[in-house]
């Protein structure tokens, strides 16, 4: 498939940044409003799918390498598992720390002043410990994974020119 008409491409150029910013907003406020890593990642991936439909898969494959998306997805998975293992590793340094795998280690301490408050009050974004960081890592996994699935399937089943 080699792209659609000029009207579709123009509308896609206008609408694409708004959809993408909305998806990133849903990921970033996932611990305060309905949303989170999966839902926001799906919104961002659908904006990329809109570009894929409007411009055609051959144009996208020339611009985006498939290996870079694989690197992004692996990076998200490594961030997720690494955040889980920090809760175990902290036991070695602080003997009084009650740690476990996927322990929320940023809540209930004053040493590191990021995301460590308890969420009283309306929409305080500096709360919830490692949950926003895990939202971002899961968002990376979902964006890269769904876009790779759509890109590979669209490119493999494309219609040849001249048939």
């Amino acid at each position: 498939m080699s792209g659609m008409s000029r009207i579709v491409k123009t509308i896609t150029n206008v609408a694409f940044p708004f959809v993408m910013i909305y998806g990133l907003y849903i990921i970033a406020r996932g611990h305060l409003i309905p949303g989170g890593g999966f839902q926001g990642g799906v919104v961002v991936a659908s904006s990329l799918a809109m570009v894929l439909v409007a411009y055609g898969s051959i144009w996208i494959v020339g611009k985006v390498k498939e290996k870079n998306l694989s690197v992004l997805e692996s990076l998200g998975a490594i961030c997720f598992i690494g955040l889980g293992f920090i809760g175990v590793i902290l036991i070695l340094f602080y003997s009084s720390f009650e740690g476990s795998f996927l322990k929320n280690f940023l809540i209930g301490q004053d040493t590191i002043p990021i995301f460590n408050e308890i969420g009283k009050g309306i929409s305080n974004i500096n709360t919830a410990g490692i949950i926003p960081l895990m939202n971002f890592s899961v968002g990376m996994i979902v964006i890269a994974g769904l876009f790779v699935i759509l890109l590979v399937m669209a490119y493999a089943t494309r219609i040849k020119e001249g048939k």
């Binding site: 611990h31 929320n104 969420g119 899961v138 590979v152 493999a156």
Partner: protein, 93 residues
């Protein structure tokens, strides 16, 4: 109607009867009496703001109380992407 369709229709009717009577015998929609009181969910609703710090209870459950579920889910997504790329690699050239 062949014999295969007849057997399939009988199986479908049995499953339909079991599912519909099972739905009719459940507790009323939206009401929890003493026997079906949701203790675990009530604990999570009461304590999610103090223990995880998140205002959103569903995010607190997904990423803190049940983090292993989310890890397995990410693994399933990763495996599906790897499978799709593996299946379509030979068609690309």
């Amino acid at each position: 109607m062949s014999r295969r369709n007849l057997v399939a229709a009988i199986f479908f009717a049995i499953v339909a009867i079991f599912l519909v009577f099972g739905a009719l015998m459940m507790h009323p929609f939206g009401e929890f009496d003493e026997e079906h009181y949701p203790e675990m969910d009530q604990y999570i609703i009461d304590n999610t703001q103090n223990e995880t710090g998140a205002d959103n209870g569903v995010t607190g459950v997904v990423f803190d109380y049940r983090g292993f579920d989310t890890l397995g889910e990410a693994t399933v997504l990763f495996t599906a992407v790897a499978g799709v790329i593996l299946l379509f690699r030979r068609l690309k050239k």
